[in-house]
Every structure is written in structure tokens, then in C-alpha cells.
């Protein structure tokens, strides 16, 4: 019936349906209100056109009850829409505990992904259906934005910080991946496809990708190569904190405050160690700013996270 003309995007993630429900409800409301107002104006325009014989007695220049009614009604409706939208939005903050974490790196003008097993992809992303996937996003240069319309998800990748987006693909298929934030000359070419496949197919696909080093293993190597282990290792002479189980743990700082060791904290500890000093230690750790690029940062973070006891506190630390 639609002659190949698309009217709606595919719904291929666990949240797509609920976002669409809100969208269509709002669409129905605005269409009704729009049609009502338009008809009202047309009705008045015809009925009270100059020279018509309509009754014009009893006209008023204001009506307090009416004005109060529509103000309050608009407010109430607005609050309902707000609450609904906000409730759905806050789901973004709480990814399921058991999730597959994929590192996504945006650079002018391509997306690079690394699976936990180390498999790399460029402008393609393979994910299993029915399993939560967290894409942790970083950017090498300018701001990009990870956008999969079929999943109704979008998140900017901002240089200098790690952001996250998560989804559960619900329908196998190949869906468009875009960069939604204008990022320079070839912004419109920066994208590709997300392929959602049944878990077995995904496993098979992973297997076929050749066994690269895992992200964690790469991170571990870097940890040695950059000299981190020289201080944080067991046999070190420098007194530096033991990093086992660091991720998601509360850390006492020397200024009496306590912070959760989330992505932001780890990143800052490496790039800007003087900012927050762990209580009881000397601020001797050098800054690695300029020595690790975004890709290496993702490896280091993956390694540090892998040192965590078990994934119990993970979901709080991610946002």
C-alpha cells in the first residue's frame, strides 16, 4: 500500500515500541488539538465574516474562568507528557547488569568498534539479538553522535570523556547507523550498518573474525609498557594504590571527599592525576595526557575494569 515509500522507521529494539507509543500518543493529541483549533478558527472566520447575519450580541473581551481553564489544562497535559518522556529517558541510565560491552570510537569520519574478544570492525557493528549491549563511546577528535534510528537510540561521543548508550536488539536485521552530530566535511558519509543476529549466529560470526588480542589483553600490555605496573604492581617501590577491584568502588580522597571510581574518575586519574588524590598517597603519579590516545584509553579502561571482583556495582558506575 505504501508504494515503497517509508512512513515509519523499523522498530528493532526493546525500547523502540515504548518510544513509539509515546510518539503516537503525542501525535494523536497534537493532531486532535490542531484540527480542533483549525476548525474553530475556520468556523469563526466563516460565521463572523463581515456582512454575515450571525448573532454578535454578548461578546466579551475576556473570560477569567475560560482563561484559567485552558492554562491549567495545558499545564496538566504538559506535565503528563513530560513525566512520560522523562521516565522512558531515565531507562538509559540503568543498563541491565549482564551486558555485553563494546567499545566504540568515533573519528573523522568513521566508527571503529571493538568487541570484548578484540574483534575490530569499521562502520559495521554486529550485535546479538535479545542481549543487552552497552556501547561505550569515545572520540578521537570532534564530537560525533552514535545514532541507530531503528533502535531509537542516540548518544554523542565527546572528546575527553566516555559516554554510554545501551540497547537490546529485538529483531534480526541490518539497520542504518548514522553519525548525527555535524563533525566536518564528510559528516554525511560517517556511518554504516548495525547487524543484529541471533546469538548463535553472532557467536559464529565472532569465531570467524580471527582471534585478535582481546581489549583487556591489549590493555594489560599497555599497563606494562607505559610503566603503570612499575608503581601499581606488587613489587613496586613506589607506594601506589592497588588497583584490583577499583572500578565501581568508592574511593576516599585526600580532601575528605569520597567518589565512585567510574569511567570519568579512571580517565581523570590517568590524564589528570593531580585533580583527585587518593587519600594516604603522595601525588607522584605523572599525567599520561598526550601519551595515550583514545583507542589506548579504551584498552586501559577495559583492563582496569577487568580487575573488578565481579560485576555487581557496575551498573551504578555507568552513566
Amino acid at each position: 500500500m505504501s508504494f515503497g515509500i517509508p512512513f515509519t522507521p523499523p522498530e528493532a529494539s526493546s525500547i523502540a515500541g515504548s518510544v513509539d507509543l509515546l510518539f503516537y500518543t503525542l501525535l494523536a493529541f497534537t493532531a486532535l488539538l490542531g484540527v480542533f483549533l483549525t476548525s474553530l478558527v475556520i468556523f469563526y472566520a466563516v460565521k463572523y465574516r463581515a456582512g454575515s447575519s450571525a448573532d454578535r450580541t454578548g461578546e466579551r473581551a475576556r473570560s477569567l474562568p475560560l482563561e484559567v481553564t485552558w492554562t491549567v489544562a495545558s499545564l496538566l497535559i504538559a506535565f503528563v507528557i513530560f513525566g512520560w518522556g522523562a521516565a522512558l529517558f531515565m531507562r538509559r541510565e540503568h543498563p541491565p547488569l549482564e551486558a555485553l560491552e563494546i567499545a566504540g570510537l568515533g573519528k573523522q569520519w568513521m566508527w571503529e568498534f571493538r568487541h570484548p574478544g578484540g574483534q575490530r570492525e569499521i562502520n559495521e557493528l554486529h550485535v546479538p539479538v535479545g542481549k543487552a549491549v552497552i556501547v561505550s563511546l569515545a572520540s578521537q577528535d570532534v564530537i560525533h553522535s552514535f545514532f541507530v534510528p531503528a533502535f531509537r537510540v542516540k548518544q554523542d561521543a565527546v572528546p575527553g570523556r566516555t559516554t554510554h548508550v545501551w540497547f537490546i536488539a529485538s529483531e534480526p536485521g541490518r539497520y542504518r547507523l548514522f553519525c548525527a552530530q555535524y563533525c566536518g566535511t564528510q559528516h554525511s558519509e560517517m556511518g554504516g550498518f548495525v547487524t543484529a543476529m541471533p546469538p548463535e549466529a553472532y557467536a559464529a560470526w565472532l569465531g570467524n573474525q580471527g582471534q585478535g588480542e582481546t581489549l583487556v589483553a591489549d590493555g594489560e600490555k599497555l599497563f606494562g609498557a607505559l610503566g603503570c605496573s612499575g608503581c601499581h604492581g606488587n613489587s613496586s617501590k613506589v607506594r601506589a594504590p592497588d588497583l584490583t577491584g577499583i572500578f565501581g568502588r568508592p574511593v576516599a580522597l585526600d580532601n575528605q571527599q569520597t567518589v565512585i571510581a567510574d569511567d570519568r574518575y579512571l580517565r581523570d586519574s590517568i590524564l589528570n592525576p593531580k585533580k583527585e588524590i587518593a587519600a594516604g598517597y603522595e601525588p607522584v603519579m605523572p599525567s599520561f595526557d598526550g601519551l595515550v590516545d583514545e583507542g589506548e584509553m579504551q584498552m586501559l579502561l577495559a583492563y582496569l575494569k577487568s580487575l573488578s571482583a565481579r560485576d555487581t556495582t557496575k551498573s551504578e558506575a555507568i552513566h
Binding site: N272, K274, K275, S287, D289
Partner: protein
């Protein structure tokens, strides 16, 4: 039509004067938003990199900064006097006070220039092509501090130069102006000058006095 209004829109000089003052205050409010936005940038950086900023702040010259604050407050004082004398019709005294104000403004700029030169020699001024040399801790964020310091101090200096130019222009055209229009101008430039002083009153502790 009242001979002493400058704009055709007004009948009474008193109303025009009220309008002038109001306009200047709105302009000052607008300027305050400009400086406020930049201060906000500084504040956020300062929250993030407190120790680096404190250490870098010690590389500014406190004696010169303090001296400059004295100079600027004095110039505000003489500007207030110029207004007071003008109000009393004592135009000679008023003229001298105005000239003193502009001169003190120049002194301020001179001292500022001396500071800049020192900082340039030290290698911490963000001048094109000159490498940044700094021996304190965390040079990256110290450089950030100096960048913001130069930006804010220079923006303030540009405002001061504007004020000096206007005062100079006023004095050049002084003899041809009527008394009421002289008063009108003194009042307007006075408000501006005091505002620029207030900006420095905030910049000074924020830049020079971080955890001395």
C-alpha cells in the same frame, strides 16, 4: 522645544537625564553578562584544576597587581570628583580630575604592559609561536590558567582603553560643548569607568590571590 535636550524625543532635560542614566545602567548590565560568562568559564576550570591554578597564580606579580588596583581605585575616585565638580559648576577642577582619571588609566595600562613583558620573558604568555616554558607542576593546566588570565586581563584592558579614548575625545571637544552636555557626558563616562573598575575589583583577587 527645550533647547537643552540633545535628542528630539525629549521635552525636558530632567527626563533625558533619567533616560541617559538608565541606558548606561542597562549597558552595564549587558557588559556584566559578558564578563560573567567568561568568569564562569574560569570558575569551572578553577574547580577542576585548583592546585595547578593556585601554583600558576603565584607566577603573577602580586606587588604590581596590588599597585594596579590602587591606581584604578584612585582613578575611580578622581572620576567621581570630576562629576562632583561638574555638578557644582567648577569646570576647571572637573577638567583636571577628568584628565587625571585618563592619566591614571594610562598608568594602569603601563603597569599592565610591564607585567605582560615580564611574563613574556618568563615564557608563560600565550603569544603566537613562542614556546610555553614553565617549571611548576602540571604545566598543561598552568598554561590554561595563563591563557585565561591573559584573555580576561586583556578584555578588561580593552575596555579601559575605550574609556580613555572617550575621555580624551571629550576633552578635545570640551570648549565647544555646553555645560549641560558636558555634564551629561561626564555622567555617562563616569558610570562606565566605575564599572570597569568594578570588573577589576573582581578580577584581581580571582587571578592574583588564589591560595597565596
Amino acid at each position: 522645544m527645550g533647547a537643552s535636550t540633545e535628542s528630539v524625543a525629549f521635552d525636558k532635560p530632567a527626563r533625558e537625564q533619567a533616560a541617559d542614566t538608565f541606558a548606561m545602567w542597562i549597558f552595564i548590565g549587558s557588559e556584566a553578562m559578558l564578563f560573567g560568562a567568561i568568569l564562569l568559564v574560569f570558575l569551572i576550570a578553577r574547580i577542576s584544576y585548583g592546585p595547578a591554578f593556585a601554583a600558576a597564580s603565584h607566577h603573577l606579580s602580586l606587588p604590581l597587581g596590588t599597585l594596579n588596583t590602587v591606581v584604578l581605585i584612585t582613578s575611580s575616585f578622581s572620576m567621581a570628583l570630576a562629576h562632583l565638580f561638574g555638578n557644582r559648576g567648577r569646570w576647571r577642577a572637573s577638567t583636571w580630575s577628568l584628565a587625571a582619571t585618563a592619566l591614571l588609566g594610562l598608568v594602569f595600562l603601563g603597569i599592565k604592559a610591564a607585567e605582560y613583558t615580564m611574563e613574556f620573558r618568563e615564557g608563560i604568555a600565550p603569544v603566537l609561536g613562542v614556546p610555553f616554558t614553565y617549571d611548576g607542576p602540571d604545566p598543561v593546566h598552568a598554561e590554561f590558567f595563563f591563557g585565561l588570565y591573559f584573555a580576561m586581563a586583556s578584555l578588561h584592558a580593552v575596555h579601559l582603553i575605550g574609556g580613555i579614548v572617550v575621555i580624551a575625545g571629550m576633552l578635545v571637544m570640551w570648549s565647544s560643548a555646553t555645560q549641560s552636555s558636558r555634564l551629561r557626558r561626564v555622567r555617562a563616562i563616569g558610570l562606565y569607568w566605575h564599572f570597569v573598575d568594578i570588573v577589576w575589583v573582581f578580577l584581581f583577587p580571582i587571578l592574583y590571590l588564589i591560595n597565596r
